[in-house]
Symmetry: C2
């Protein structure tokens, strides 16, 4: 039986959302701007949905508009906030692990300068470091409530307090967390997306606190207080509101239950599978997300084999992205990106499905490693190292995880203290060779430019 | 029993759309960008919907993207086409009767100069005049396939040919007509909206012909060829495609049937109601839209009374708009805007409902007129006119249709050839006083600036 473990991409439609959608298709298809009966009925539904969602967000109904998606909420929120603070400046502060919609929105701002604040190895932003990045000409700060790839919860309340003190508005991307509870107080703008909490596609939220300077860009339109042009996606908005209320009613119990299942995965995977790194904060995390990376495995094969075994998961490995670069989140965290798997459990996930996943995973990882010719432990030769490579591995033209596999195969061939140089033009190597060194307790020496790609120097320590 | 006559705002959901939506909620909720089974299934649905709609539009599937609404299609189409022609210039040519989304999109372009091409009294653009407005620095031309307020069909093929000759891309807003058939060939960009053809809310179309220069503005995003950011509104897209196919299969027969009903309204309303002007082209029109204006009536009361009688219609009268200005379409046509009613019949409208509408309309118009104290015909006094007003009517602070009613009441008090001056600060008077003169065969002399508002001079002819 198949199990869908990718709720962080899109949660299956909640039964309450389905019911509400059906009812609203009959009652809410007309234009809510019209004054005749069908229009008034649609307006009542729209107003009621806004009241419900505003209550769940923790804002006033007139601070909240519905957009077509979380991505559009972020794009428009960033643009509107920047336009509203035009006179202050165009500098922005964002965490390096924001969703791509935030990073794309901020880099799309012509002439805007963006400071990216890094994270620790668990993907958590330091509030102090974030605060220190705020400047007199900072127009906007953006921080997610929790990370979409590794589940780490961010210090929103602390950062909000620093932003408030600096007079900088804070946009919080609450897409991953809003189904579990409201974001901490202190945000100026908040964005979210209904299909993450079991609502239908086509509905995003954008809340703008009263008093936040905000200026709509783009063509004028009368819908949604002028902040989200176009005919309202009404039946879907009604369904989104109903399902948000429903998942919130279940959030405490279901969150506790899923958190136990996630904890089981966090604990068991490193026991069952050799050479695995579980990434993300073990404690300050969302209840339903866990991510790990498997050495000597390519993410694409792993996803394919897991899909064949009936498990739908996603990956931040480079080989699974259209750009062939590893996830910017894993990169910012400085963790292994190869063989990366994100498991995000939808509400209602059975413990038996998680156990079945833990049953099949070790065999799948093993078979992928065998196919790729991954190394097995070898005894160490003795001898003295030097300051020049004792051995050069040419991995040019080969993709993740091959360069790391080739390094691992030969490291035992050089004496302890000697250097192996890996030539690679694969973007993932820059992240994965140091990560392998950390996992294997070898010394990562340096990256040197090479005629093609780079030479990554690794000193054998044991 | 209630009858909904406002299909041009939003058509009720087609039964096929409802069925398709239900099926797609189960099969198409996952992220179509993912490679696991649920994602592949969603991708198949999205691809199939795109193929279907592309066939109905008359384009290739890879020329077509789905957006969240017709308004967004227009906004993004205009922005993308202009950005693609940055080097040519920023001049645009549009008809004066385009949908507000087009006019707002073009006027929102900083530094862009817009030439508005007028229409005849039937709301039809002259192709020659449109062609003459094209310049060497014209980046984009926009022409609707048919007008949304009066149903007049525009000469798209002729204008497209002139645009082609001038090397100017043409954006066709096909929102009102796509359910009835494809737009004439020759467009470079085409926009439409699913809820106009019985699809759900939340789905717009934007087609961009291969070879059209187009440059996406705003933040990068991988969805929909980079042209429409955000998670696809998938179940709704599937429903939109299914209903477009279904309404097209019925379009010829249903169009002919509704056209007869519209013809009945066009013919009977002036017979049943005194002082009515039916507006829009009598022949070159959409099958389901008819619009008329009633002298000495305010649109809001008329809509309210029709709603009480069970008829949902819309109006371009100033008193029904949030800005208290008459519809820019009626203004461009130079026709009466007071007491304006647009009837747009959804597919399946019964002849009996139209007959019932014709039954109740005369009594409703009469009662509104009585309440407003509208004039009844009077015999004409004799005498000579002059070049200065023989009588001044102070209608300052009074709204449409009061200034026209006050004019009509006193015109019989001055001799034939004499001038009545109406002082009014209501925007609608500028349109309605000349329109009244045309209907009553009086001479509209001129508008003169006054300390407040304007003085409208009317010479009694008979």
């Amino acid at each position: 039986m198949a199990a869908y473990f990718d709720a962080a991409s899109a949660a299956p439609l909640h039964p309450v959302a389905r019911q509400a959608l059906l009812a609203a298709l009959d009652e809410g298809w007309a234009d809510p701007a019209r004054l005749y009966r069908e229009g008034r009925r649609a307006r009542l539904l729209l107003d009621a949905a806004r009241e419900t969602v505003a209550e769940m967000v923790g804002c006033r109904a007139d601070e909240l508009v519905f957009t077509p998606s979380g991505t559009r909420s972020v794009h428009e929120g960033v643009a509107g906030a920047l336009a509203g603070r035009r006179r202050v400046g165009r500098h922005m502060v964002v965490s390096a692990v924001e969703h791509s919609s935030v990073l794309h929105a901020t880099t799309a701002e012509n002439g805007g300068e963006v400071t990216e604040v890094g994270t620790d190895r668990a993907g958590r932003v330091g509030a102090e470091e974030f605060g220190a990045a705020l400047r007199a000409d900072t127009a906007l700060a953006c921080l997610q409530s929790a990370n979409h790839e590794v589940g780490t919860v961010q210090p929103v309340a602390e950062v909000a307090e620093l932003c408030r003190a600096a007079g900088v508005p804070l946009l919080v991307d609450a897409a991953q967390s809003l189904g579990w509870g409201p974001a901490p107080d202190g945000w100026s703008l908040l964005a979210a997306s209904a299909h993450k909490w079991g609502g239908p596609a086509g509905v995003g939220l954008l809340a703008v606190r009263k008093g936040t300077r905000y200026s709509v860009r783009g063509p004028a339109d009368e819908r949604e207080s002028g902040r989200a042009p176009g005919f309202e996606n009404l039946p879907a908005i009604v369904a989104a509101a109903a399902s948000l209320r429903a998942v919130r009613a279940e959030a405490a119990a279901e969150g506790a239950r899923l958190s136990v299942l996630v904890e089981r995965i966090r604990r068991r995977v490193p026991e069952l599978v050799p050479d695995v790194e579980v990434v993300g904060d073990a404690v300050r995390r969302l209840p339903h997300i866990v991510t790990f990376s498997c050495l000597y495995v390519d993410g694409e094969s792993l996803l394919h084999e897991l899909d064949r075994a009936g498990f739908s998961v996603s990956s931040g490995s480079s080989c699974t992205s259209s750009t062939l670069t590893p996830s910017h989140v894993l990169k910012a965290m400085g963790v292994l990106s190869e063989g990366n798997v994100r498991v995000s459990l939808p509400p209602g996930t059975e413990a038996a499905d998680v156990d079945r996943f833990l049953d099949v995973l070790p065999g799948i990882v093993r078979s992928v490693r065998e196919r790729l010719g991954a190394p097995t432990p070898a005894s160490a030769p003795t001898g003295n190292g030097g300051d020049e490579p004792a051995l050069v591995v040419d991995s040019l033209g080969k993709r993740c995880p091959i360069p790391v596999i080739e390094l691992a195969k030969v490291i035992g061939d050089v004496p302890v203290g000697a250097i192996v140089s890996v030539l690679s033009d694969d973007e993932a190597a820059r992240l994965d060779i140091p990560a392998w060194c950390a996992m294997r307790e070898q010394e990562y020496v340096a990256e040197h430019p090479a005629p093609r790609g780079s030479a990554y120097w690794v000193r054998r320590l044991g």
